[in-house]
């Protein structure tokens, strides 16, 4: 049993089930990518794993207990999530935004402590945003802004971190930069990371474990070199392709046929 897992998980909006009877074990201390075509339910699954969406059936377990039985503040000390489109309040500075990640560690009356201070400083350092602290978010480039949001999630200081399409609106250089940052965060502290993303090649290159979804179900999972085949890509994305080895890292690379 891994720390975060789901059994028989059915998730949906209104009366439409998006994910149906799904089982997943999120590998501890690994970087997992959830990939799939648009509307395959990968973001829904991530929201379900982070208790943002209550299960219709089944349950998500964190350290052996169903999420529904845990206090949401206690979950937030162990499990962090960076949503797809978080909102930056008008005019907010980097330091202020990253500090908001400390929310679950503060009480109604508790003041800012040295632990809060350290966590924020470490998050800024780790993401290379320490020299931006007095800048307003809206003045930053897309890549910087995304790193600041990751810093906020890091300041929450959780063992598990889920990210919903953190690379989608970034150019290739910033996508790679962000994925390397996630790798480093994983290497430094054995933090468990789950990232929903679109670019299959980058997912193969930078993640330990791949979960491929189609129509609300997992169709394949495992190390990228083991699972990524032309048949799988055809099945998941409906794209006929050739899979070759990445000339640099040797990981699978998908080339449209």
């Amino acid at each position: 049993m891994t720390r975060l897992n789901a059994r028989g998980l059915t998730l949906g909006y209104d009366d439409r089930a998006v994910v149906q009877g799904l089982d997943i074990d999120v590998l501890d201390g690994k970087v997992t990518a959830i990939v799939g075509a648009n509307a395959c339910g990968k973001s829904t699954l991530l929201r379900g794993l982070a208790r943002l969406l209550a299960p219709r059936e089944g349950a998500v377990h964190l350290d052996g207990t169903a999420l529904a039985e845990l206090r949401t503040l206690d979950i937030a000390k162990v499990l962090g999530l960076l949503p797809q489109t978080p909102v930056a309040p008008d005019g907010i500075t980097v330091a202020d935004l990253v500090s908001r990640g400390r929310y679950p560690h503060q009480g109604w009356f508790r003041r800012w402590t040295d632990d809060d201070q350290d966590a924020v400083a470490r998050a800024l350092e780790a993401t290379g945003t320490a020299d931006l602290i007095d800048r307003p978010i809206r003045e930053l480039s897309g890549g910087q802004r995304q790193r600041v949001w990751v810093a906020m999630a890091l300041a929450q200081d959780t063992d598990l971190l889920l990210l919903d399409e953190p690379t989608t609106y970034l150019d290739i250089n910033h996508q790679v930069e962000l994925l390397r940052l996630l790798r480093r965060l994983n290497a430094d502290s054995a933090r468990t990371i789950v990232v929903v993303m679109h670019d299959l090649n980058l997912a193969c290159r930078y993640c330990d474990h791949l979960v491929a979804m189609a129509d609300g179900a997992i169709v394949a999972e495992g190390a990228p070199t083991e699972v990524v085949t032309a048949e799988l890509v055809e099945k998941v994305f409906g794209l006929s392709c050739v899979v070759v080895a990445d000339p640099v890292a040797g990981t699978p690379m998908v080339v449209p046929a």
């Binding site: 209104d14 949401t72 930056a88 400083a121 320490a130 602290i133």
Partner: protein, 352 residues
Amino acid sequence: MSVITAAGPAAVDGALRAGRRRRTTRAALVIGGLAAVAAGLFVVTMMVGSFALTAVEVVGSLLGLRDDPSVDFIVLGLRLPTATAALAVGLALGASGTIFQQLLRNPLASPDFVGITSGAGLAAVSGIVFLQVGGIVISGFALGGALLAAVLMYALAWRGGVSGYRFILIGIGVLVFFDGLIGYVISRAQLTEARQAMHWLTGSIGQAGPDELRLLLGALVVMLPLAVLLQRQLRALELGDDAAAALGSRTELSRAGLLATAVVLVALAVAVAGPLLFVAFVAGPVADRLLGPATGGILAAALVGASLLLTADLAAVHLMPTPLPTGVVTGAVGAPYLLWLLATTNRRGAGG
């Protein structure tokens, strides 16, 4: 708990601490300054009038330090209730307005623009015209109307949760609907009732009765500290519902609590003084300008509201050739701000 990397260099730590100190100092100065301004205006309000008093006389009488029956009569008997009403209504409107605006993430979303105040107005005017009520009963109707309007909007906007944008659109719809009904009700009224209704709708500090005022003061003592405590929830909610939930905030509960606090405050304020437009609308942005971006201090906004309303009341009663209802002055100050906001909102990307 996990450890990220080795602690960052002292430079980051120092810069963070300095920034935090700067913000704390600024907040203390702004809140202290605003409290001083509000207190000063409160005293000045009781000094001016057909019989001018000195500040020493007013404060002495308030604190019971002097024994001068005629001064005591003017201060405690005549002027204190009005001044207290202006202070309390201003505090309530300021706090309520900024909570609405932050919760709905839109500077246009103050309670006077999303139908709460109109709900109070419709109920009060209906009471005046159809049931010939007066005095505290009008205030009771206004209170009930505001609460009903809020519940109605919350129910209409509910779809497995309440989103800010939908709430605003429904609020504006409700506002237009209620204003139409107010026009209809007044058109059915006798002349004297119509005059009374129009006067109530303009809003005036002078119309406050002692019972409504006591109720509002009681509510402020409970709700203002509560609102300041709930500020923590606002800090999380304004990052978006998903981010707030991921941080461990119980989003629907927090939002409902904040809305309820804001609605009760604005409803009681309207019950005391009628719909004084623009005070709730302007107070939050002014406080934010003073405190710095994205601070959204509820206490500061409440104090700005009180200062604005005390100033408006002084202007309405003493600066004009004939005393005017307070609502005329707040409207004259607030309307240009609304125009400026509408003209600049899209540029700042806060239009939706």
